[in-house]
């Protein structure tokens, strides 16, 4: 399986200017990643680490003040290598929903409140396919049936559905045209755990049915553990670790990832969980060197001045940390 989307040294900043004061928030700062066709790629990190910004840029759906200042996003579409920046508006609109799709957070009001669900489906389907109303209704009914959703939601208005049902309908709406690449931004946040389980199962079904690629963004490591094949850990606009899900969960290397995993409750132990000391840095003036050094118990002098590079420490396991790098060089020496 080949790469379907890649980001090369991507830098995306929010550049605002108010009353002559320019402010730059470096939300995505030099991220490189390659996502394989058919995999579930999880992106994790705490609030304000640039997850959603990264997703907007990968989806090629961003507006000022968000600006890509460096690097590029490249799609691999039917063997063709297309840079997101080179696509005209028509090409971009054409790709949406047929190739690239987006599942927003469940608490968002993404369904038109005065339109029946089936009419919303018709709006989205007919935007990309030449179908009559009856055809899109039939298509929608079949799809909902396949996903195990009750058919009566079709004639309902959004306010008549529960939060969990609304989120499932939104997932169906986002994937009705079988997109190759699905971006999901916190799809389970704001839902209770029982409903979360249903939504996770549904995402799995949707992804497996056509072997789509799913890029899943959530702060919830539990959801990643359930769904993702690989996980990327984002910290303050940078990728600090990337590996297979099992590796991240069982043998994380970056100190931040370790804190993240250790903070998860487990069934075997009843001791109190530690939280990560300090708070995430403000991205308009990020710390020098390694962005985590202020909160890192292992930090050395080099961490304060020199930015660590993302290196492959084991097959398909990448991390950006001076301490890990040093340990490795000692081990091999």
């Amino acid at each position: 399986m080949g790469t379907i989307i890649e980001a090369n040294n991507l830098r995306a900043y929010y550049i605002t200017k108010a009353y002559g004061v320019e402010r730059t928030v470096k939300a995505v700062d030099g991220i490189t990643l390659r996502i394989q066709e058919g995999e579930v790629y999880g992106i994790a990190g705490e609030s304000g680490c640039g997850k959603s910004t990264l997703l907007r840029v990968l989806l090629n759906a961003y507006n000022p003040p968000l600006t890509v200042v460096d690097g590029e996003v490249v799609y691999h579409l039917d063997g063709e290598r297309v840079s997101a920046a080179d696509m005209n508006e028509e090409r971009q609109r054409d790709l949406r929903w047929r190739t690239l799709s987006y599942i927003p957070q469940g608490s968002m009001h993404v369904l038109n409140p005065v339109r029946r669900i089936r009419d919303s489906f018709h709006d989205f389907i007919s935007a990309h396919r030449d179908v009559s109303k009856a055809e899109s209704f039939a298509l929608t009914a079949k799809y909902l049936r396949d996903l195990g959703l009750p058919e009566k939601v079709l004639a309902s208005y959004p306010h008549q559905l529960s939060g969990g049902m609304r989120q499932r309908v939104t997932i169906a709406l986002a994937t009705i045209l079988w997109p190759k690449l699905i971006f999901a931004d916190e799809p389970t946040t704001a839902l209770d755990v029982v409903v979360q389980r249903g939504v996770i199962q549904m995402l799995k079904d949707v992804q497996q049915k056509e072997g789509s690629t799913l890029i899943l963004i959530t702060h919830d490591i539990g959801v990643h553990a359930n769904l993702a094949d690989r996980i990327a850990i984002l910290y303050a606009g940078k990728l600090v670790e990337e590996a297979a899900t099992q590796t991240i969960l069982e043998s994380p290397r970056h100190p931040y990832t370790r804190f993240l995993i250790e903070s998860l409750p487990s069934l075997d132990s009843r001791e109190e969980r530690l939280s990560i000391p300090g708070r995430p840095p403000a991205l308009d003036r990020p710390p020098s060197g390694c962005r985590f050094h202020e909160r890192c118990p292992l930090a050395k002098d080099i961490c304060k001045t020199i930015e660590p590079a993302l290196i492959e420490i084991a097959p398909r396991h990448f991390t950006a940390c001076h301490v890990v790098e040093e340990e490795l060089s000692h081990a091999s020496a």
Partner: protein
């Protein structure tokens, strides 16, 4: 719950209370119209008769009849309760008494003569200005950053605070006086008949008063529609539909406009209800034979019966307008059903 059950539920919890509300509003309005002349410190009948006989001679027989009707109408004859019920009795029979100015022509006849002109002129112009304002305002709100949208908005912002009588005056001077393409006063030419000549003359005479009303209504509606759509385009569902590349036309129609319809429909029904007062200034200015002109003449001549008749009509009109809006709410916003 079956379809029949929910219909009954809708009738019971939504329609009936609103119809009751409508009846109460009309009842109070009519009662006030009855009471206000009674609370006047001067005897309105003596005042009226005195004023009418001061500068002109009126047939004594007419004065006697006038006093009788006025006493009856104003509740100065018999006990208060008696007159109140008499007042209602006459009202329900559709009897509004005679006009003082054009005695003994009944007020009904005068109102009936003006009504079609006003209803024709105002229904057309109110609806036209409303529709154009919503479309243009929402389009401009949706395309805020486009050059054409900003230009249009600037023009409307200049027009909006201009009183429509100024617009009417300018139009009158230009198109009826200096460049007489449209007639200066009147409602139509020739004998009323279903001929093209007569109908086209209605359109020709109605054009200038109509266009000044449309411009005024349009500017107001435009500004409201623009403000409403500006908040609407920031909503999650509009943003999501845009992300999904749903055609812009569909987004403007089914997402932006459709979600802002509630206040627009509300305003429309109220302005349609208030049209029974006529477009006072425009009608007076263009000598248009509608209710506005009648009201204008009635006010300057203290023709109380006509004023009361028109006031009653507009009470019923506005109350009915808001009743219709209330009943239409569930059609425009499905969420209203649950409230």
């Amino acid at each position: 719950m079956g379809a029949k059950g929910s219909t009954m539920q809708l009738l019971k919890s939504y329609i009936l209370p609103r119809v009751a509300q409508w009846a109460v509003v009309i009842f109070i309005g009519v009662t006030l119209t009855f009471l206000i002349p009674r609370f006047s410190p001067v005897n309105p009948v003596d005042d009226m008769i005195g004023r009418m006989t001061a500068f002109q001679t009126i047939d004594p027989q007419a004065v006697v009849a006038m006093r009788a009707t006025m006493e009856d109408l104003y509740g100065l004859d018999g006990s208060l309760l008696e007159q109140y019920s008499n007042f209602w009795g006459r009202l329900l029979q559709g009897d509004l008494g005679p006009s003082f100015q054009n005695f003994p022509t009944p007020v009904n006849e005068i109102i009936a003569a003006g009504l079609p002109w006003t209803v024709g002129l105002l229904t057309t112009t109110i609806i036209l200005g409303w529709l154009l304002g919503i479309f243009a305002g929402s389009l401009v709100g949706y395309n805020q950053h486009r050059r054409w949208a900003q230009t249009l908005e600037r023009i409307v912002i200049v027009v909006y605070p201009t009183p429509y009588l100024i617009i009417a005056l300018v139009l009158l001077v230009i198109f009826a006086f200096y460049w007489p393409v449209f007639p200066m006063t009147g409602g139509a030419q020739g004998t009323p008949a279903l001929t093209w000549a007569y109908i086209s003359s209605i359109l020709r005479f109605g054009f200038l008063p109509g266009i000044s009303l449309v411009i005024g209504g349009f500017a107001f509606r435009f500004i409201i529609a623009k403000a409403l759509s500006t908040t609407e385009i920031a909503s999650d569902y509009v943003q999501y539909a845009e992300l999904a590349a749903v055609p812009k036309r569909r987004i403007v129609m089914s997402y932006v406009i459709r979600n802002t319809m509630l206040p627009h429909v509300n305003d429309l029904a109220l302005s349609l209800g208030s049209m029974f007062e006529g477009a006072l200034i425009v009608e007076a200015m263009f000598g248009y034979p509608g209710l506005g002109s009648k009201l204008f003449t009635a006010i300057s001549n203290a023709d109380y019966n006509i004023i009361m008749g028109i006031v009653l009509l507009s009470i019923v009109g506005i109350a009915t307008g808001s009743l219709i809006v209330d009943l239409l709410y569930p059609v425009f916003d499905p969420r209203v059903r649950l409230r």
